[in-house]
Symmetry: C2
């Protein structure tokens, strides 16, 4: 099938680019040194390609964990987030490790029948995570409650887009010193952290939770990463006026938290629910198909039911985005 | 069922508020004077409540049209957007009226088996729509091709959030003068336009395509509208640190194009994929349930599978958001 036959808007994944991205990451961080984060793509078909390189996965939601298990990818799932009702996790026939950062989330793990946890440590990003000096006490409480504590995790998310490599290395070291201090108190085999933006800078953890590298974002462009933008939104030009044109991709098909999408060879003016108004450098005609680059992949993918793996104009496979929802 | 049993994040619709919103609009614009736009809520269960007041609906996508027909709401659907492949519309056993603004979209309507159209006129918003002075020629071409031309539509979307009523009235009149000039050339019984922001200011059209009024946006707050915010996202506090807390609602459950959500009694710092970090004025605890107000309803709803109609803590009904996708 040719992409010309697709209803637009439609997610396209360039096969060459995603294959190269997966290979590049596997070469840099082989096997368990990368624990791919599926939140970025929410697609078990793509996770299966990553599973050829890496034995474990990171997930952000209970639904993602359930979907991965249903797809046969439940050998070692880390839910790198806190939950207050873990019963659906405890019911899964799979190896599930859950992040905890408080007495309440520890109690939820126990009540839900989860058996393994990591202590989520605040390494500087004001989000989840216990203060490093309190991590050991929480680990002791978890063990006393019968849980296996596999180690620690800490996400230096505020450093992902630091441009200067020396600065990034310095800040990452500072963040990871907190994680290592916590790990000294907590113990366990896992020191988990990082992301696509720090996958080389973070030499302190023993596994990197990278997600964006597979499909990439325009927001990461210029961050000096070897990964290629693999995901675009195929759109149709539905209207042309003097000085601008309109494509049928908009707020319902694009994650907008990083701002407007990019259209090569055009200036994007604004997006509406089902429209993007843009000024093309060269004339476009109603009915033309164009590629729109979302500024943030993760919430973009969450808006789509499927993505199409393509080589040029040819559709090789169609993948369900089967990890959406909660 | 009580909302305490819901998995979060979850969309909640306050029954009192949505009922009042629908009644207020029906009182202001009874029957065919309002043609509710379903893009705002993408939920046929809610559209059925609107159908008690208004005979026709506006849709933005082919999928929305298909879903409305499947729900028995296909008596008079206006697809207020341009499409280049109308075959799925032509296949529907329903009254479908399609917007056209070019020879190519006219040809697509004919090729797809659509029988009725309106001419979409540019009234000032740089998006779809033919120049007013060309509308008559397009209507003649449509009639020559065997189509019924029901009239004109023109959306003054750039005026929705103009705060001053006198300014809004003046600008609306200028925009609608263009639409009326086009209508003089086009003919037909429909003069369609407007939205929630101009539903009283736009006295020039004979039907208003209002969508947001049913559930409302925080972006419309302060625009002097009588409608109440009916939709919130129920979230769970999953982590509490010194000075801030984290709720399990984020970029995957909130439309972000209008900026951060609002949390009453708190300052929102930032959102991540599944998190919102906020500084509460009064202490919150891990496990607390809070209500988050999305800045833009339409793309928020598009991220959710369902919404729950509630009265206080009680869930009255659960509605599928069944018009998502394309």
């Amino acid at each position: 099938m040719n992409i010309a036959e697709l209803t637009t808007p439609a997610l396209l994944v360039e096969a060459d680019a995603v294959t190269a991205n997966l290979a590049d990451m596997a070469a840099a961080l082989p096997g368990p040194r990368c624990r791919p984060h599926v939140k970025a793509h929410k697609t078990t078909a793509l996770a299966k390609l990553q599973a050829a390189h890496h034995p474990g996965f990171t997930v952000a939601t209970i639904r993602e964990a359930e979907g991965m298990v249903a797809a046969g990818l439940g050998d070692d799932l880390l839910l790198a987030n806190e939950v207050l009702d873990a019963r659906r996790l405890g019911a899964l026939d799979a190896r599930i490790t859950l992040a905890i950062d408080s007495a309440a989330t520890l109690a939820a793990a126990v009540a839900g029948g989860v058996r393994e946890v990591v202590v989520d440590v605040n390494v500087g990003l004001p989000r989840c995570g216990i203060a490093p000096e309190k991590a050991g006490v929480l680990a002791d409480a978890a063990r006393a409650a019968g849980l296996t504590v596999r180690g620690v995790m800490g996400y230096e998310g505020h450093l992902m887009l630091v441009a200067d490599p020396a600065e990034k290395a310095k800040y990452t070291e500072e963040c990871m010193a907190k994680l290592l201090a916590a790990h000294a108190d907590v113990g366990g085999e896992l020191i988990s952290g990082g992301g696509t933006g720090t996958y080389t800078a973070n030499t302190w953890v023993n596994e990197i939770q990278a997600g964006s590298y597979a499909l990439m974002d325009t927001a990461y462009t210029g961050a000096g990463l070897p990964f290629r933008q693999a995901l675009t939104v195929l759109a149709t030009v539905i209207s042309v006026s003097e000085g601008y044109a309109v494509a049928d991709v908009g707020l319902k098909s694009l994650g907008m938290d990083h701002g407007n999408p990019t259209i090569p060879g055009a200036q994007v003016w604004f997006c509406s629910d089902e429209h993007t108004t843009f000024a093309p450098e060269e004339k476009v005609a109603v009915g033309d198909r164009i590629r729109v680059l979302p500024a943030h992949i993760d919430p973009t993918v969450a808006l789509h039911e499927r993505m199409h793996l393509v080589s040029g104009e040819e559709i090789l496979e169609t993948w369900a985005v089967d990890l959406r929802g909660w």
